[in-house]
């Protein structure tokens, strides 16, 4: 037990060092930091505005009205930006690491290599966007979804974490073929078009909805967290969300270890 705690502490300490390192780097390029932040916030605002325009012409889509669509979009971008900052920047690097053989330096470190390749860098491009999205979510809750119960808030927060873990696991799995197809240097973009489906309520997929809820759980990206706030969440899905997050994370780890067996370490 004691050993496990120190082990966990080591990871925390390591992550703190990564984070500090990136912060120092980022502060060297301050104008870049501000521009990136503005751009990623603008992108979210643009998508929100298109929904304003669409809902000028329709009143609801599969039971989702303007406010719930805005809520869903805000959640999508919140989760997407958190994922970007924590993981995406690292998944970009994985391709290069594998192709240049630089993965060696990570494999020889006495910590989990999946942890290292997934969390080594932290991007600071999300702050403005996330502040705006959190602000929008709170605004929508106060004006349209109050009173909201404590349980609803807790389930929402749990589901946000599930959403991040599910996005990470699926995305991570989708990059692993790089060990076999080294030339595919844009493989970190493979999952993106699928992830886009998280931008619309999963109800619109009609008969495919169970598939996207249980098997390829894109419903957990934004639809189900939004339902926690709207108040029509079945608590079975909260339970399932936690289970599937853990399962996918474990699968991603198993597949990572399996793929490593095919790593040829290009240069050395």
């Amino acid at each position: 037990m004691r050993l496990m705690v120190t082990k966990k502490l080591r990871y925390l300490k390591l992550y703190k060092a990564f984070f500090k390192n990136c912060l120092i780097r980022e502060m060297e390029f301050r104008s870049h930091f501000i521009i990136q932040n503005i751009v990623s916030a603008v992108w979210a605002l643009i998508v929100l505005v298109t929904f304003l325009f669409i809902f000028n012409h329709v009143s609801s889509v599969n039971g989702w009205d303007l406010h719930s669509m805005l809520l869903l979009t805000a959640i999508y971008f919140l989760v997407d930006r958190i994922f970007d900052s924590l993981f995406e920047i690292n998944l970009w690097d994985l391709t290069t690491l594998v192709n240049t053989g630089n993965l060696d330096t990570i494999l020889t470190k006495p910590v989990s290599s999946q942890f290292m390749v997934s969390l080594r860098k932290f991007s600071f491009s999300m702050f403005f966007s996330n502040l705006a999205m959190i602000g929008l979510i709170i605004y929508l809750i106060i004006n349209f979804y109050s009173p909201i119960s404590f349980i609803q808030i807790i389930s929402f927060l749990i589901l946000i974490i599930c959403s991040i873990v599910i996005t990470y696991s699926l995305w991570f799995i989708s990059v692993l073929p790089i060990f076999w197809w080294g030339r595919l240097d844009n493989i970190h973009h493979l999952f993106r078009p699928f992830h886009q489906l998280g931008r619309v309520p999963i109800d619109v997929t009609g008969s495919l909805k169970p598939f996207f809820t249980y098997i390829f759980p894109l419903a957990f990206v934004s639809t189900i967290p939004a339902q926690a706030i709207i108040g029509n969440l079945s608590y079975w899905l909260l339970f399932y969300g936690i289970i599937i997050s853990i399962v996918l994370l474990v699968i991603s780890n198993k597949l990572w270890n399996f793929s490593l067996r095919y790593y040829t370490s290009a240069s050395s």
């Binding site: 325009f53 078009p193 699928f194």
Partner: protein, 265 residues
């Protein structure tokens, strides 16, 4: 012209090497349109007509977006940016390689590959059109106007992206610039939602900006949504923007070469 074809064939074989990468880019190109389609299909469950669109015309719109984007949306800026940063750009200065011609040839080669990927989709659309008898006929197409507007859309796209790529001379890291351009363009070109669903005043304003002429405008010609007069007027605006960005590109190139430091060479 002979030079052009050799650039073209080099780029074509280069693009063939990255077949799988091209496939992933294609998925990324058509992804948003497919998500849009799925969303609209659900929206039309409750109403037959949304802002003048029926489900049918909305499907045509998004399929058209995919096709036009595949044909005209080139991305020479990433490669150009890399070349400037690595010093590889020097080859345009020291060897008799014309940067504009070789980049255009390369862009067309990539478009050809992308188009091949879309052929099955096009075939499916045609089977669907044939079976459902929607009254859509290629004979109704104004081929001359459509071709003209597609060529100009391609060039407009090309010169804008090249100018953005050349910005690397000053910024070194220009990725944020490409991304900024992309999101503004997705919004104002009609890629996210049809521009005629925007409020009228916004739509009118957009008609004077270049973005619409890279996607929505050629598509409107293909879908026969415009009067003859509007089409001619649009083509003139398109030509105007092409010339403007051609001149900007030339200017940026001239100024950029002066600040170019040719690292690594």
């Amino acid at each position: 012209m002979r030079k052009f074809f050799s650039y073209f064939s080099i780029a074509l074989s280069d693009a063939f090497v990255y077949k799988a990468a091209g496939f992933i880019w294609m998925l990324n190109d058509i992804g948003p349109a497919i998500v849009g389609l799925i969303f609209w299909k659900a929206a039309f469950n409750s109403s037959v007509n949304i802002g003048g669109y029926t489900l049918q015309s909305m499907i045509f719109y998004y399929l058209g977006i995919m096709l036009v984007n595949t044909l005209v949306a080139t991305h020479p800026q990433y490669d150009l940016s890399d070349q400037i940063r690595s010093g590889n750009f020097s080859k345009y200065l020291t060897k008799p390689i014309n940067i504009t011609t070789s980049k255009i040839a390369g862009s067309i080669a990539w478009r050809v590959i992308r188009f091949i990927y879309l052929l099955p989709v096009i075939l499916l659309i045609n089977i669907y059109l044939y079976k459902s008898n929607q009254g859509f006929s290629y004979l109704n197409l104004n081929i001359i106007f459509l071709t003209l507007s597609l060529i100009m859309a391609f060039l407009l796209n090309f010169f804008i992206k090249m100018s953005l790529g050349l910005a690397t001379f000053w910024f070194t890291e220009a990725g944020w610039l490409f991304f900024t351009y992309r999101i503004i363009n997705t919004f104002l070109s009609g890629e996210l939602i049809p521009l005629d669903l925007f409020p009228q005043s916004v739509f009118n304003l957009i008609s004077y900006l270049p973005f619409k002429y890279m996607l929505f405008f050629p598509l409107s010609i293909a879908l026969n949504k415009q009067s003859y007069l509007n089409t001619v007027q649009g083509l003139l605006i398109q030509l105007f923007w092409c010339l403007v960005f051609y001149l900007i590109y030339k200017l940026v190139l001239k100024k950029g070469i002066k600040v170019y430091e040719a690292y690594g060479n």
